[in-house]
Point group: C2
Chain length 217, copies 2
DNA sequence: CGCGTCTTTGAGAGGATTCAACGTGTGTGG
DNA sequence: CCACACACGTTGAATCCTCTCAAAGACGCG
Protein backbone atom coordinates (compact mmCIF):
# COMPACT_ATOMS: atom_id res chain seq x y z
CA UNK A 1 0.00 0.00 0.00
CA UNK A 2 2.69 2.50 0.91
CA UNK A 3 4.19 2.13 -2.54
CA UNK A 4 1.12 3.54 -4.23
CA UNK A 5 0.98 7.21 -4.96
CA UNK A 6 -1.09 9.05 -2.36
CA UNK A 7 -3.44 10.29 -5.03
CA UNK A 8 -4.25 6.75 -6.09
CA UNK A 9 -4.89 5.69 -2.56
CA UNK A 10 -7.14 8.66 -1.97
CA UNK A 11 -9.00 8.03 -5.17
CA UNK A 12 -9.68 4.50 -4.01
CA UNK A 13 -10.68 5.30 -0.44
CA UNK A 14 -12.78 8.31 -1.32
CA UNK A 15 -14.10 6.97 -4.57
CA UNK A 16 -13.36 10.21 -6.35
CA UNK A 17 -11.89 11.29 -9.68
CA UNK A 18 -8.19 11.60 -10.39
CA UNK A 19 -7.95 15.40 -10.42
CA UNK A 20 -9.79 15.75 -7.13
CA UNK A 21 -7.64 13.10 -5.54
CA UNK A 22 -4.49 14.79 -6.80
CA UNK A 23 -5.54 18.15 -5.46
CA UNK A 24 -6.25 16.63 -2.10
CA UNK A 25 -3.09 14.54 -2.10
CA UNK A 26 -0.91 17.56 -2.67
CA UNK A 27 -2.45 19.22 0.39
CA UNK A 28 -2.02 16.23 2.68
CA UNK A 29 1.09 15.11 4.43
CA UNK A 30 2.05 11.51 4.89
CA UNK A 31 2.88 10.67 8.44
CA UNK A 32 3.54 7.53 10.34
CA UNK A 33 3.45 6.51 13.95
CA UNK A 34 5.04 3.55 15.58
CA UNK A 35 3.20 1.18 17.88
CA UNK A 36 1.99 2.85 21.08
CA UNK A 37 2.57 6.34 19.84
CA UNK A 38 -0.03 8.82 20.89
CA UNK A 39 -1.60 10.45 17.89
CA UNK A 40 -3.60 12.88 19.99
CA UNK A 41 -4.13 13.36 23.68
CA UNK A 42 -7.22 13.80 25.76
CA UNK A 43 -7.91 17.49 25.86
CA UNK A 44 -6.25 18.30 22.54
CA UNK A 45 -8.24 20.17 19.99
CA UNK A 46 -8.76 18.06 16.92
CA UNK A 47 -8.19 20.38 14.06
CA UNK A 48 -6.25 17.74 12.20
CA UNK A 49 -8.04 15.25 10.01
CA UNK A 50 -6.23 11.99 9.34
CA UNK A 51 -7.14 9.27 6.91
CA UNK A 52 -5.78 5.94 8.05
CA UNK A 53 -3.91 4.10 5.32
CA UNK A 54 -2.49 1.34 7.41
CA UNK A 55 -2.67 0.06 10.96
CA UNK A 56 -5.15 0.19 13.79
CA UNK A 57 -5.93 3.31 15.77
CA UNK A 58 -7.65 3.16 19.11
CA UNK A 59 -9.51 5.79 21.06
CA UNK A 60 -9.29 5.29 24.78
CA UNK A 61 -10.63 7.21 27.69
CA UNK A 62 -8.99 7.43 31.07
CA UNK A 63 -11.31 7.81 34.02
CA UNK A 64 -10.70 9.88 37.11
CA UNK A 65 -9.28 6.84 38.89
CA UNK A 66 -6.79 6.35 36.09
CA UNK A 67 -7.92 3.16 34.44
CA UNK A 68 -8.14 3.33 30.70
CA UNK A 69 -10.87 1.83 28.57
CA UNK A 70 -10.97 1.39 24.84
CA UNK A 71 -13.76 3.39 23.29
CA UNK A 72 -13.46 2.41 19.70
CA UNK A 73 -10.87 1.43 17.17
CA UNK A 74 -10.49 2.30 13.53
CA UNK A 75 -8.56 0.93 10.62
CA UNK A 76 -7.58 1.68 7.03
CA UNK A 77 -10.06 3.90 5.26
CA UNK A 78 -11.37 5.42 8.47
CA UNK A 79 -11.07 9.06 9.36
CA UNK A 80 -9.96 10.35 12.71
CA UNK A 81 -10.15 13.85 14.00
CA UNK A 82 -12.68 15.88 12.20
CA UNK A 83 -14.83 18.88 12.40
CA UNK A 84 -12.53 21.20 14.18
CA UNK A 85 -15.75 22.56 15.63
CA UNK A 86 -15.58 20.57 18.79
CA UNK A 87 -13.33 22.16 21.34
CA UNK A 88 -11.48 19.09 22.50
CA UNK A 89 -11.46 15.35 22.62
CA UNK A 90 -12.54 13.46 25.69
CA UNK A 91 -10.17 10.62 24.87
CA UNK A 92 -6.66 9.65 23.86
CA UNK A 93 -5.89 8.52 20.35
CA UNK A 94 -3.11 6.00 20.05
CA UNK A 95 -1.55 3.74 17.50
CA UNK A 96 -2.21 0.11 18.29
CA UNK A 97 0.22 -1.02 15.62
CA UNK A 98 2.40 0.83 13.18
CA UNK A 99 0.11 3.39 11.61
CA UNK A 100 0.38 5.35 8.41
CA UNK A 101 -1.95 8.28 7.80
CA UNK A 102 -2.51 11.15 5.45
CA UNK A 103 -3.12 14.35 7.35
CA UNK A 104 -4.65 17.69 6.57
CA UNK A 105 -5.86 20.64 8.55
CA UNK A 106 -9.62 20.53 9.02
CA UNK A 107 -10.23 24.04 7.75
CA UNK A 108 -8.04 23.48 4.74
CA UNK A 109 -10.02 20.35 3.96
CA UNK A 110 -13.19 22.39 4.12
CA UNK A 111 -11.76 24.84 1.62
CA UNK A 112 -10.72 22.05 -0.69
CA UNK A 113 -14.17 20.58 -0.54
CA UNK A 114 -15.59 23.83 -1.78
CA UNK A 115 -13.36 23.52 -4.81
CA UNK A 116 -13.82 19.78 -5.33
CA UNK A 117 -17.29 18.97 -4.07
CA UNK A 118 -17.05 15.36 -5.08
CA UNK A 119 -14.67 14.79 -2.17
CA UNK A 120 -17.64 15.15 0.10
CA UNK A 121 -19.28 12.06 -1.35
CA UNK A 122 -16.59 9.72 -0.15
CA UNK A 123 -16.10 11.54 3.12
CA UNK A 124 -19.77 11.41 3.97
CA UNK A 125 -19.84 7.69 3.22
CA UNK A 126 -16.90 7.08 5.53
CA UNK A 127 -18.22 9.22 8.33
CA UNK A 128 -21.64 7.67 8.11
CA UNK A 129 -20.17 4.19 8.35
CA UNK A 130 -18.14 5.13 11.37
CA UNK A 131 -21.13 6.75 13.00
CA UNK A 132 -23.10 3.56 12.61
CA UNK A 133 -20.26 1.51 14.04
CA UNK A 134 -19.86 3.75 17.05
CA UNK A 135 -23.58 3.91 17.73
CA UNK A 136 -23.66 0.16 17.62
CA UNK A 137 -20.78 -0.01 20.01
CA UNK A 138 -22.46 2.40 22.37
CA UNK A 139 -25.63 0.34 22.28
CA UNK A 140 -23.69 -2.79 23.06
CA UNK A 141 -21.84 -1.10 25.86
CA UNK A 142 -25.08 -0.06 27.48
CA UNK A 143 -27.01 -3.21 26.84
CA UNK A 144 -24.63 -6.08 27.40
CA UNK A 145 -22.79 -7.26 30.51
CA UNK A 146 -19.02 -7.32 30.60
CA UNK A 147 -18.85 -11.04 29.94
CA UNK A 148 -21.52 -10.69 27.26
CA UNK A 149 -19.40 -8.15 25.44
CA UNK A 150 -16.40 -10.40 25.78
CA UNK A 151 -18.21 -13.36 24.26
CA UNK A 152 -19.47 -11.15 21.50
CA UNK A 153 -15.96 -10.07 20.60
CA UNK A 154 -14.94 -13.69 20.62
CA UNK A 155 -17.67 -14.57 18.19
CA UNK A 156 -16.79 -11.63 16.00
CA UNK A 157 -13.18 -12.76 15.97
CA UNK A 158 -14.17 -16.28 15.02
CA UNK A 159 -16.19 -14.99 12.10
CA UNK A 160 -18.01 -17.79 10.38
CA UNK A 161 -15.48 -20.44 11.34
CA UNK A 162 -15.16 -22.29 14.59
CA UNK A 163 -11.45 -22.24 14.94
CA UNK A 164 -9.28 -19.32 15.91
CA UNK A 165 -5.58 -19.54 15.21
CA UNK A 166 -3.43 -18.29 16.67
CA UNK A 167 -5.31 -18.24 19.97
CA UNK A 168 -6.45 -14.72 20.79
CA UNK A 169 -4.70 -12.62 23.40
CA UNK A 170 -7.17 -12.45 26.25
CA UNK A 171 -5.97 -9.06 27.38
CA UNK A 172 -6.47 -7.48 23.98
CA UNK A 173 -9.86 -9.10 23.53
CA UNK A 174 -10.95 -7.89 26.94
CA UNK A 175 -9.80 -4.38 26.17
CA UNK A 176 -11.73 -4.27 22.94
CA UNK A 177 -14.76 -5.59 24.80
CA UNK A 178 -14.28 -2.68 27.17
CA UNK A 179 -13.50 -4.74 30.21
CA UNK A 180 -10.46 -5.97 32.11
CA UNK A 181 -8.02 -8.82 31.60
CA UNK A 182 -9.25 -10.56 34.70
CA UNK A 183 -12.86 -10.52 33.61
CA UNK A 184 -11.83 -11.85 30.22
CA UNK A 185 -9.80 -14.59 31.75
CA UNK A 186 -12.61 -15.64 34.06
CA UNK A 187 -15.09 -15.62 31.21
CA UNK A 188 -12.80 -17.77 29.11
CA UNK A 189 -12.11 -20.38 31.74
CA UNK A 190 -15.83 -20.59 32.41
CA UNK A 191 -16.38 -21.42 28.75
CA UNK A 192 -13.70 -24.06 28.95
CA UNK A 193 -15.10 -25.64 32.09
CA UNK A 194 -18.51 -25.88 30.49
CA UNK A 195 -17.02 -27.40 27.38
CA UNK A 196 -18.23 -24.63 25.11
CA UNK A 197 -14.74 -24.04 23.81
CA UNK A 198 -11.58 -26.10 23.66
CA UNK A 199 -8.17 -24.54 23.97
CA UNK A 200 -4.82 -25.96 23.13
CA UNK A 201 -1.35 -24.65 22.57
CA UNK A 202 -2.00 -22.87 19.34
CA UNK A 203 -5.70 -22.74 18.70
CA UNK A 204 -9.06 -21.98 20.12
CA UNK A 205 -12.05 -24.00 19.00
CA UNK A 206 -15.69 -23.18 19.53
CA UNK A 207 -17.49 -26.44 20.24
CA UNK A 208 -20.98 -25.12 20.71
CA UNK A 209 -21.54 -21.89 18.91
CA UNK A 210 -25.16 -21.85 19.96
CA UNK A 211 -24.35 -22.01 23.64
CA UNK A 212 -21.79 -19.28 23.25
CA UNK A 213 -24.29 -17.09 21.47
CA UNK A 214 -26.75 -17.58 24.28
CA UNK A 215 -24.23 -16.20 26.72
CA UNK A 216 -24.12 -12.88 24.90
CA UNK A 217 -26.50 -11.00 27.15
CA UNK B 1 -39.80 26.29 9.74
CA UNK B 2 -42.42 24.04 8.26
CA UNK B 3 -43.63 26.91 6.11
CA UNK B 4 -40.38 27.10 4.18
CA UNK B 5 -40.03 25.19 0.98
CA UNK B 6 -38.14 21.94 1.51
CA UNK B 7 -35.50 22.99 -0.99
CA UNK B 8 -34.73 26.11 1.02
CA UNK B 9 -34.45 24.15 4.21
CA UNK B 10 -32.15 21.66 2.57
CA UNK B 11 -30.03 24.38 1.09
CA UNK B 12 -29.60 25.83 4.55
CA UNK B 13 -28.88 22.60 6.39
CA UNK B 14 -26.60 21.16 3.74
CA UNK B 15 -25.06 24.42 2.71
CA UNK B 16 -25.52 23.62 -0.97
CA UNK B 17 -26.66 25.44 -4.07
CA UNK B 18 -30.26 25.91 -5.08
CA UNK B 19 -30.36 23.42 -7.96
CA UNK B 20 -28.82 20.65 -5.91
CA UNK B 21 -31.18 21.31 -3.05
CA UNK B 22 -34.14 21.27 -5.42
CA UNK B 23 -33.11 17.99 -6.94
CA UNK B 24 -32.75 16.47 -3.53
CA UNK B 25 -35.95 17.99 -2.25
CA UNK B 26 -37.97 16.48 -5.05
CA UNK B 27 -36.66 13.05 -4.13
CA UNK B 28 -37.38 13.37 -0.43
CA UNK B 29 -40.68 12.92 1.31
CA UNK B 30 -41.81 15.01 4.21
CA UNK B 31 -42.98 12.96 7.12
CA UNK B 32 -43.92 13.66 10.67
CA UNK B 33 -44.17 11.64 13.81
CA UNK B 34 -46.00 12.46 16.97
CA UNK B 35 -44.48 12.25 20.38
CA UNK B 36 -43.49 8.72 21.39
CA UNK B 37 -43.84 7.34 17.92
CA UNK B 38 -41.24 4.79 16.98
CA UNK B 39 -39.36 5.87 13.90
CA UNK B 40 -37.47 2.61 13.67
CA UNK B 41 -37.27 -0.48 15.80
CA UNK B 42 -34.36 -2.43 17.11
CA UNK B 43 -33.51 -5.01 14.47
CA UNK B 44 -34.88 -3.02 11.58
CA UNK B 45 -32.64 -2.45 8.62
CA UNK B 46 -31.90 1.22 8.20
CA UNK B 47 -32.12 1.84 4.52
CA UNK B 48 -33.98 5.06 5.07
CA UNK B 49 -32.09 8.28 5.66
CA UNK B 50 -33.95 11.03 7.49
CA UNK B 51 -32.93 14.61 7.98
CA UNK B 52 -34.50 16.05 11.11
CA UNK B 53 -36.18 19.38 10.52
CA UNK B 54 -37.89 19.72 13.85
CA UNK B 55 -38.06 17.92 17.14
CA UNK B 56 -35.83 15.61 19.14
CA UNK B 57 -35.12 12.03 18.19
CA UNK B 58 -33.69 9.57 20.66
CA UNK B 59 -31.92 6.30 20.15
CA UNK B 60 -32.48 3.88 22.96
CA UNK B 61 -31.35 0.37 23.58
CA UNK B 62 -33.28 -2.20 25.54
CA UNK B 63 -31.25 -4.76 27.38
CA UNK B 64 -32.12 -8.41 27.83
CA UNK B 65 -33.74 -7.64 31.17
CA UNK B 66 -35.99 -5.10 29.52
CA UNK B 67 -34.77 -1.82 30.89
CA UNK B 68 -34.23 0.85 28.31
CA UNK B 69 -31.34 3.28 28.21
CA UNK B 70 -30.93 6.33 26.05
CA UNK B 71 -27.96 6.04 23.74
CA UNK B 72 -28.00 9.39 22.09
CA UNK B 73 -30.40 12.04 20.93
CA UNK B 74 -30.43 14.17 17.86
CA UNK B 75 -32.14 17.35 16.77
CA UNK B 76 -32.77 19.57 13.76
CA UNK B 77 -30.05 19.30 11.14
CA UNK B 78 -28.99 15.84 12.24
CA UNK B 79 -29.24 12.76 10.09
CA UNK B 80 -30.60 9.44 11.24
CA UNK B 81 -30.41 6.14 9.48
CA UNK B 82 -27.62 6.03 7.07
CA UNK B 83 -25.42 3.82 5.07
CA UNK B 84 -27.78 1.03 4.34
CA UNK B 85 -24.65 -1.08 4.57
CA UNK B 86 -25.20 -2.09 8.13
CA UNK B 87 -27.58 -4.97 8.46
CA UNK B 88 -29.65 -3.74 11.37
CA UNK B 89 -29.80 -1.35 14.23
CA UNK B 90 -29.06 -2.39 17.75
CA UNK B 91 -31.44 0.22 19.13
CA UNK B 92 -34.88 1.76 18.90
CA UNK B 93 -35.38 5.15 17.34
CA UNK B 94 -38.20 7.16 18.78
CA UNK B 95 -39.62 10.65 18.65
CA UNK B 96 -39.16 12.44 21.94
CA UNK B 97 -41.38 15.26 20.81
CA UNK B 98 -43.27 15.95 17.64
CA UNK B 99 -40.76 15.34 14.88
CA UNK B 100 -40.67 16.42 11.27
CA UNK B 101 -38.20 14.83 8.89
CA UNK B 102 -37.34 14.65 5.24
CA UNK B 103 -36.78 11.09 4.15
CA UNK B 104 -35.06 9.37 1.28
CA UNK B 105 -33.92 5.89 0.48
CA UNK B 106 -30.22 5.46 1.19
CA UNK B 107 -29.39 4.05 -2.21
CA UNK B 108 -31.32 6.73 -3.97
CA UNK B 109 -29.39 9.31 -1.98
CA UNK B 110 -26.18 7.72 -3.12
CA UNK B 111 -27.28 8.02 -6.73
CA UNK B 112 -28.23 11.63 -6.26
CA UNK B 113 -24.85 12.36 -4.78
CA UNK B 114 -23.21 11.06 -7.90
CA UNK B 115 -25.19 13.61 -9.85
CA UNK B 116 -24.81 16.46 -7.37
CA UNK B 117 -21.49 15.93 -5.65
CA UNK B 118 -21.79 19.09 -3.61
CA UNK B 119 -24.43 17.40 -1.51
CA UNK B 120 -21.65 15.36 0.00
CA UNK B 121 -20.02 18.42 1.46
CA UNK B 122 -22.89 19.20 3.78
CA UNK B 123 -23.58 15.57 4.54
CA UNK B 124 -20.01 14.87 5.52
CA UNK B 125 -20.02 17.90 7.79
CA UNK B 126 -23.17 16.70 9.53
CA UNK B 127 -22.01 13.13 9.90
CA UNK B 128 -18.65 14.18 11.20
CA UNK B 129 -20.27 16.39 13.83
CA UNK B 130 -22.53 13.58 14.93
CA UNK B 131 -19.63 11.17 15.07
CA UNK B 132 -17.77 13.51 17.36
CA UNK B 133 -20.80 13.91 19.58
CA UNK B 134 -21.36 10.19 19.87
CA UNK B 135 -17.71 9.44 20.54
CA UNK B 136 -17.80 12.04 23.25
CA UNK B 137 -20.85 10.46 24.71
CA UNK B 138 -19.26 7.04 24.61
CA UNK B 139 -16.18 8.39 26.37
CA UNK B 140 -18.35 9.97 29.03
CA UNK B 141 -20.29 6.78 29.50
CA UNK B 142 -17.11 4.85 30.12
CA UNK B 143 -15.35 7.47 32.18
CA UNK B 144 -17.92 9.04 34.45
CA UNK B 145 -19.97 7.60 37.29
CA UNK B 146 -23.74 7.48 37.08
CA UNK B 147 -24.17 10.50 39.32
CA UNK B 148 -21.39 12.28 37.45
CA UNK B 149 -23.24 11.82 34.19
CA UNK B 150 -26.42 13.03 35.82
CA UNK B 151 -24.78 16.22 37.08
CA UNK B 152 -23.25 16.75 33.68
CA UNK B 153 -26.63 16.56 32.00
CA UNK B 154 -27.94 19.00 34.57
CA UNK B 155 -25.19 21.47 33.76
CA UNK B 156 -25.77 21.00 30.06
CA UNK B 157 -29.45 21.71 30.57
CA UNK B 158 -28.71 24.83 32.55
CA UNK B 159 -26.48 26.13 29.77
CA UNK B 160 -24.84 29.36 30.76
CA UNK B 161 -27.61 30.41 33.13
CA UNK B 162 -28.21 29.28 36.69
CA UNK B 163 -31.94 28.91 36.60
CA UNK B 164 -33.90 26.13 34.98
CA UNK B 165 -37.57 26.70 34.37
CA UNK B 166 -39.67 24.71 34.30
CA UNK B 167 -37.89 22.33 36.66
CA UNK B 168 -36.48 19.37 34.77
CA UNK B 169 -38.15 15.99 34.87
CA UNK B 170 -35.81 13.85 36.92
CA UNK B 171 -36.77 10.66 35.12
CA UNK B 172 -36.03 12.10 31.70
CA UNK B 173 -32.77 13.61 32.83
CA UNK B 174 -31.71 10.33 34.37
CA UNK B 175 -32.56 8.49 31.18
CA UNK B 176 -30.49 10.82 29.08
CA UNK B 177 -27.64 10.43 31.55
CA UNK B 178 -28.02 6.71 31.00
CA UNK B 179 -29.07 5.86 34.50
CA UNK B 180 -32.26 5.26 36.47
CA UNK B 181 -34.87 7.50 38.05
CA UNK B 182 -33.82 6.41 41.49
CA UNK B 183 -30.20 7.32 40.99
CA UNK B 184 -31.25 10.67 39.57
CA UNK B 185 -33.51 11.37 42.46
CA UNK B 186 -30.85 10.46 44.98
CA UNK B 187 -28.31 12.63 43.21
CA UNK B 188 -30.71 15.55 43.16
CA UNK B 189 -31.67 15.39 46.80
CA UNK B 190 -28.01 15.19 47.70
CA UNK B 191 -27.41 18.42 45.83
CA UNK B 192 -30.29 19.99 47.67
CA UNK B 193 -29.11 18.83 51.08
CA UNK B 194 -25.67 20.26 50.42
CA UNK B 195 -27.17 23.54 49.27
CA UNK B 196 -25.68 23.32 45.81
CA UNK B 197 -29.07 23.77 44.22
CA UNK B 198 -32.39 25.19 45.37
CA UNK B 199 -35.66 23.79 44.17
CA UNK B 200 -39.09 25.28 44.37
CA UNK B 201 -42.42 24.67 42.79
CA UNK B 202 -41.52 25.83 39.34
CA UNK B 203 -37.83 26.32 39.11
CA UNK B 204 -34.45 24.88 39.77
CA UNK B 205 -31.57 27.16 40.69
CA UNK B 206 -27.91 26.31 40.74
CA UNK B 207 -26.39 28.08 43.72
CA UNK B 208 -22.83 26.93 43.36
CA UNK B 209 -21.95 26.05 39.83
CA UNK B 210 -18.38 25.35 40.82
CA UNK B 211 -19.33 22.77 43.40
CA UNK B 212 -21.67 21.11 40.94
CA UNK B 213 -18.92 20.97 38.35
CA UNK B 214 -16.61 19.32 40.83
CA UNK B 215 -19.10 16.52 41.28
CA UNK B 216 -18.89 15.57 37.64
CA UNK B 217 -16.45 12.70 38.00
C1' DC C 1 19.25 -15.06 33.28
C1' DG C 2 16.33 -11.12 34.20
C1' DC C 3 12.58 -8.50 32.48
C1' DG C 4 8.20 -7.64 30.80
C1' DT C 5 3.89 -9.38 29.27
C1' DC C 6 0.24 -12.52 29.62
C1' DT C 7 -2.70 -15.57 32.26
C1' DT C 8 -5.03 -17.33 36.14
C1' DT C 9 -7.39 -17.41 40.62
C1' DG C 10 -8.96 -15.69 45.01
C1' DA C 11 -10.66 -12.21 48.03
C1' DG C 12 -12.58 -7.90 48.82
C1' DA C 13 -14.81 -3.50 47.94
C1' DG C 14 -17.78 -0.42 45.82
C1' DG C 15 -20.99 1.44 42.77
C1' DA C 16 -25.29 1.10 40.64
C1' DT C 17 -29.26 -1.27 39.81
C1' DT C 18 -33.35 -3.63 41.37
C1' DC C 19 -37.16 -4.30 44.35
C1' DA C 20 -40.49 -2.43 47.25
C1' DA C 21 -43.45 0.89 49.23
C1' DC C 22 -45.61 5.26 49.54
C1' DG C 23 -47.16 10.01 48.39
C1' DT C 24 -48.27 13.15 44.73
C1' DG C 25 -50.35 15.15 40.81
C1' DT C 26 -52.73 14.66 36.30
C1' DG C 27 -55.71 13.09 33.02
C1' DT C 28 -59.38 9.81 31.52
C1' DG C 29 -63.51 7.37 31.31
C1' DG C 30 -67.64 6.00 33.41
C1' DC D 1 -67.95 14.54 39.47
C1' DC D 2 -65.44 10.77 41.07
C1' DA D 3 -62.72 6.64 40.82
C1' DC D 4 -58.94 4.96 38.73
C1' DA D 5 -54.89 4.35 36.18
C1' DC D 6 -50.53 6.17 35.35
C1' DA D 7 -46.25 8.68 35.56
C1' DC D 8 -43.27 10.93 38.65
C1' DG D 9 -40.54 11.45 42.85
C1' DT D 10 -38.56 9.76 47.13
C1' DT D 11 -36.34 6.61 50.28
C1' DG D 12 -34.58 2.31 52.21
C1' DA D 13 -32.74 -2.25 51.77
C1' DA D 14 -30.73 -5.83 49.33
C1' DT D 15 -28.37 -7.67 45.58
C1' DC D 16 -25.21 -8.18 42.07
C1' DC D 17 -21.98 -7.16 38.76
C1' DT D 18 -17.35 -5.46 37.95
C1' DC D 19 -13.31 -3.72 39.10
C1' DT D 20 -9.20 -3.58 42.09
C1' DC D 21 -5.65 -5.65 44.56
C1' DA D 22 -2.64 -9.46 45.27
C1' DA D 23 0.03 -13.35 44.24
C1' DA D 24 1.89 -16.81 41.42
C1' DG D 25 3.32 -19.32 37.23
C1' DA D 26 4.33 -19.48 32.12
C1' DC D 27 6.45 -17.69 28.20
C1' DG D 28 9.39 -15.18 24.97
C1' DC D 29 13.12 -11.94 24.29
C1' DG D 30 17.31 -9.43 24.67
Amino acid sequence: MEFDRPADVLSRFLDCSGPAASALASAMRLRDYSQRDFIAHQGDGNRLVSLILEGIVQFQAVSAEGQTTAISSFGPGDLIGGTGDLEENAYDTLALSRVVVLQIDGLQLRDLMREWPELGVGLSRIYSGQLDAVLDRLAVRVTLSATGRFYRELLRLAGSGDRITPPPVIAALALSAQTTRETGSRATSMLERRGIIVRDQNSFTIVSRRMLEELVV
